[in-house]
C-alpha cells in the first residue's frame, strides 16, 4: 500500500470541517498530500481505494461512529489507521486497537504531535530497511521483513502493519524477553506512556490471528512485569 508518488497521501476523516481544513493545510505544509472528508461512507470508500498511505480517523464523530468506519475499513483493507480518540475514553481506544487501528492520538493534540505519529507509522510501513534479512524463521512461524508479511507454516497471517512490526521485533529477538518500552519504541515509533495498554491489545490480536490459522498462540509468552517473548522451540 504505497503512495502513488513519493509524497505520502494522508486521508483525514473527521466531521469537523474547519479542523479538517486546518489539519490538511498543516499536513500539506509538512510535505504530505492530504485529503479531508467529513462523511463516514465517503471516508470508508476513500480509505479502501488504495490511493492513500494512511488514514487519520476521528472515532468521536457524533453522527457516525468512527469505530464503525474503522470496522468497515478493516473488513476490506490493511491500510494503516491512526485514531483520534477522546482523552480518558479508554473504551473507544481499546475497541479501536482491537479492531485493528495501528495507533491512537488523544484529541485535542497539537498538529505537530499528529504529524510525528503519522510519520512514525509511515516510516515503519514503507521503509523495509535494505539490510533487513530476507526471512526470519522461529519454529513454524516465518517472517518476511522485506515483504512485511508473516505466515504460520503455509498459512499467511493477515496482520496490520503495527501487528507486523511487533511480531518482527519479537522474531528478531526470539528466545529473549523484549520489554514493552522497547516494543513500543521499535514497533510503534513512540515512547511508552503510563497506563498504555496498546501493546497488550495488539499482542492479543496477533495471538488470535495465530489461532485463526491453526497456530499456537502460546508461542508468544507474556512475561509479567517485563514484556513479551517469542519462544524459540
Amino acid at each position: 500500500m504505497k503512495a502513488d508518488s513519493g509524497m505520502s497521501k494522508v486521508l483525514l476523516v473527521d466531521d469537523d470541517v474547519e479542523l479538517g481544513a486546518m489539519l490538511r493545510e498543516y499536513l500539506q505544509q509538512e510535505g504530505f498530500d492530504a485529503v479531508a472528508v467529513h462523511d463516514s461512507a465517503q471516508g470508508v470508500a476513500e480509505a479502501v481505494s488504495g490511493r492513500y498511505a494512511i488514514v487519520v480517523l476521528d472515532v468521536m464523530m457524533p453522527h457516525m461512529s468512527g469505530i464503525e468506519v474503522l470496522r468497515r475499513i478493516r473488513a476490506q483493507s490493511r491500510i494503516p489507521v491512526l485514531m483520534l480518540t477522546a482523552k480518558g475514553d479508554d473504551v473507544d481506544r481499546v475497541l479501536g486497537l482491537e479492531l485493528g487501528a495501528d495507533d491512537y492520538v488523544p484529541k485535542p493534540c497539537t498538529p505537530r504531535e499528529l504529524v510525528a505519529r503519522v510519520r512514525a507509522i509511515l516510516r515503519r510501513t514503507q521503509s523495509a530497511s535494505e539490510d533487513a534479512p530476507l526471512r526470519l524463521e522461529v519454529g513454524p512461524l516465518i517472517v518476511w521483513p522485506q515483504r512485511r508479511s508473516a505466515q504460520w507454516r503455509e498459512a499467511p497471517l493477515a496482520l496490520t502493519s503495527t501487528e507486523y512490526n511487533l511480531l518482527e521485533v519479537l522474531a528478531r529477538n526470539a528466545g529473549r524477553v523484549v520489554s514493552k518500552a522497547e516494543l513500543c519504541e521499535q514497533a510503534l515509533g513512540r515512547p511508552l506512556t503510563r497506563f498504555d495498554r496498546s501493546i497488550d491489545v495488539h499482542m492479543s490480536s496477533i495471538r488470535q490471528k495465530f489461532s485463526q490459522q491453526g497456530g499456537d498462540p502460546s508461542l508468544i509468552q507474556t512475561v509479567r512485569g517485563l514484556g513479551y517473548q517469542l519462544l524459540r522451540p
Binding site: V17, M22, Y26, Q29, P108
Partner: protein, 453 residues
C-alpha cells in the same frame, strides 16, 4: 431476622398469649360455677312418670307378681327395663343392683307431694315398694363422661396455646417485616449509587401501604437514575463539545508556528474559537441556572405580546439579511408576571432557530394569541426548514441534540434546551411537530391570567 421482626414477634406473641390466658380463665370459671343441671340420680321426665304410674297401678291392682311380670316383660324387649321397684329392705324386685345415690334421690323425690311424681312409695300385699326409674345408661354416660376427657390436662393446653401463638406471631411478624427488609436492601444499594435496583419484583403482588412504599421507591430510583444519566451524558457531551474548539485552537497555533506568514489569519481564528468556547460556557451556565432557579427570580410584570413583537423585530432584521422573511401575527392581549429574562431568552432561541433553519426565500411565521377560555398564551413559531425526524421531536429539546441534516449549521445544540427550561420556569410547556409541506413548528403554551390594569 432484624430487630423489627423480633419487636413485632414479641408484641404479637404477648398479645396472643395474654388473650389466650384471659379466654382460658373465663371459660374455666364458667365451667367450675355450681352446676344446677347436674345429672339426676333418677329420671324425672314424663316417660319416667308414666312408667312409675303404670307400675303403681299394676302393683296396687295386680299385686307383686303382676309388677314383676310387667318389668320382666318389658325386659324381654330390646330396651332395658327402666322401672325399678325396691322394697323396704332395699331389695329390688328383680334383684337388680341399685346405687345408693339413686335410692336416696328416689326416696327424696317420693317424699315430695304433687300429682305427677317420678318416684313413689306404693303399698301392696303388706309391703311397701319404692317405684322409680333410674336414668338411662347412655344418658347418664352423656352427662358424666365429658367431665374428665373434655378438659385435657392444663399443661397440654398451655403448651399448645404457646406453640400456636409463637407460630402465628412469627408468621405475622415475618409477613410485615420482610418487605421492610427488602426496602432497606434497596435503599442501601441506592445509597451506594446502584440506582438500577427495584423492589417491585421482590415485594411481588402484595397490595398494602408497604408495597406502595416499595413502588414509590422504584419511581424515585428510576427518576434519579434518569436524572443522573442525563447529567453524566451532559458532562460527556460538554467535554466533547469543548474538545472541538480546543482541537481547532491547537491546529491554528500549529499552523501559525509552521508558517509565520499565516500568523495574522490564525490569530483571528484563535480569537474566533475562544469566543466560541466562551459562548458555550455561557450557554451552559444559563442552562444550569435555569435548572436550579425556582422561577421566582427576576419576575416582572410584562406584556407578552410586546415581548414577542420585540423579539420578532430583532429576528426579522437578521432573517432579511439572509434572504428570508419573518411574519408576526398577534391576537388579543395579555400581560402578567413572568421571569422576563428566561422567557425572552427562550422565545428568542426558538425564533432564531427557525430563522437559522428555514430555507432561503421562505418565511418564518410567528403567531401569538391569547386564549381567554383556557387563560393561556399560545406562541407558535413555524419554519420551512428540513424539519426533524418524527422520533426525535422530543429529543430536540435535550442539550447538544443536533439533527443529522445540520452539519452546515453552527451552534452547540443548546438553544432549544435552554428554551424548554425557560418556558418550564415560566410554568408553561413546549412542543414541536413537523408541518405539513415541510418545516418545523414549535408551540409554547403559557398560563397567563390576564392582569392588565
Amino acid at each position: 431476622m432484624g430487630r423489627l421482626f423480633w419487636k413485632l414477634f414479641f408484641a404479637f406473641w404477648l398479645t396472643l398469649l395474654l388473650t389466650g390466658l384471659a379466654v382460658a380463665t373465663a371459660v374455666n370459671l364458667l365451667r367450675q360455677s355450681p352446676d344446677g343441671n347436674e345429672a339426676p340420680a333418677v329420671a324425672a321426665g314424663p316417660a319416667a312418670v308414666m312408667l312409675v304410674d303404670a307400675g303403681a297401678s299394676v302393683l296396687q291392682y295386680g299385686g307383686v307378681e303382676a309388677l314383676r311380670a310387667l318389668i320382666r316383660n318389658e325386659e324381654g324387649s330390646a330396651r332395658a327395663s327402666r322401672l325399678h321397684a325396691v322394697d323396704a329392705q332395699g331389695k329390688e324386685l328383680l334383684g337388680r343392683s341399685v346405687s345408693g345415690d339413686a335410692y336416696a334421690a328416689a326416696a327424696a323425690l317420693a317424699e315430695q307431694t304433687g300429682p305427677r311424681r317420678a318416684a313413689r312409695w306404693v303399698s301392696a300385699e303388706g309391703e311397701r315398694f319404692l317405684l322409680f326409674v333410674p336414668p338411662s345408661e347412655h344418658r347418664a354416660g352423656a352427662r358424666h363422661r365429658p367431665r374428665q376427657p373434655l378438659l385435657p390436662p392444663a399443661m397440654l393446653m398451655l403448651l399448645a396455646g404457646v406453640a400456636a401463638s409463637i407460630g402465628f406471631a412469627a408468621l405475622l411478624a415475618w409477613y410485615l417485616s420482610r418487605p421492610i427488609r427488602h426496602l432497606r436492601w434497596a435503599f442501601e444499594n441506592a445509597a451506594q449509587g446502584r440506582l438500577g435496583v427495584r423492589v417491585q419484583s421482590r415485594i411481588g403482588r402484595r397490595r398494602d401501604e408497604i408495597a406502595d412504599l416499595g413502588r414509590d421507591f422504584d419511581h424515585m430510583a428510576q427518576r434519579l437514575q434518569r436524572l443522573l444519566e442525563g447529567q453524566q451524558r451532559l458532562l460527556h457531551d460538554v467535554s466533547h463539545e469543548l474538545r472541538s474548539p480546543l482541537a481547532r485552537l491547537q491546529a491554528a497555533i500549529g499552523l501559525a508556528r509552521q508558517n509565520p506568514a499565516r500568523t495574522e489569519a490564525m490569530l483571528q481564528r484563535v480569537e474566533q474559537e475562544t469566543e466560541r468556547v466562551d459562548q458555550l460556557v455561557g450557554e451552559l451556565l444559563t442552562l444550569s441556572r435555569l435548572d436550579t432557579e425556582t422561577g421566582h427570580t427576576g419576575v416582572e410584570h410584562i406584556d407578552i405580546m410586546e415581548l414577542v413583537a420585540a423579539i420578532a423585530d430583532d429576528a426579522r432584521f437578521e432573517a432579511q439579511s439572509g434572504g428570508r422573511e419573518l411574519r408576526l401575527t398577534t391576537h388579543g392581549e395579555c400581560s402578567g408576571h413572568f421571569p422576563v429574562d428566561a422567557l425572552q431568552r427562550g422565545i428568542e432561541n426558538i425564533v432564531r432557530n427557525a430563522v437559522k433553519y428555514t430555507a432561503e426565500g421562505t418565511t418564518v411565521e410567528v403567531i401569538a394569541e391569547y386564549m381567554p377560555a383556557s387563560k393561556t398564551v399560545r406562541i407558535e413559531v413555524c419554519d420551512r426548514g428540513p424539519g426533524v425526524p418524527a422520533e426525535d421531536l422530543e429529543k430536540i429539546f435535550e442539550p447538544f441534540y443536533r439533527s443529522v441534516h445540520t452539519s452546515g449549521v453552527t451552534g452547540f445544540g443548546l438553544g432549544l434546551a435552554i428554551a424548554r427550561r425557560a418556558v418550564q420556569a415560566a410554568g408553561g410547556e413546549i412542543h414541536a411537530r413537523n408541518r405539513e409541506g415541510g418545516g418545523l413548528s414549535v408551540e409554547i403554551l403559557l398560563p397567563c391570567a390576564d392582569e392588565r390594569k
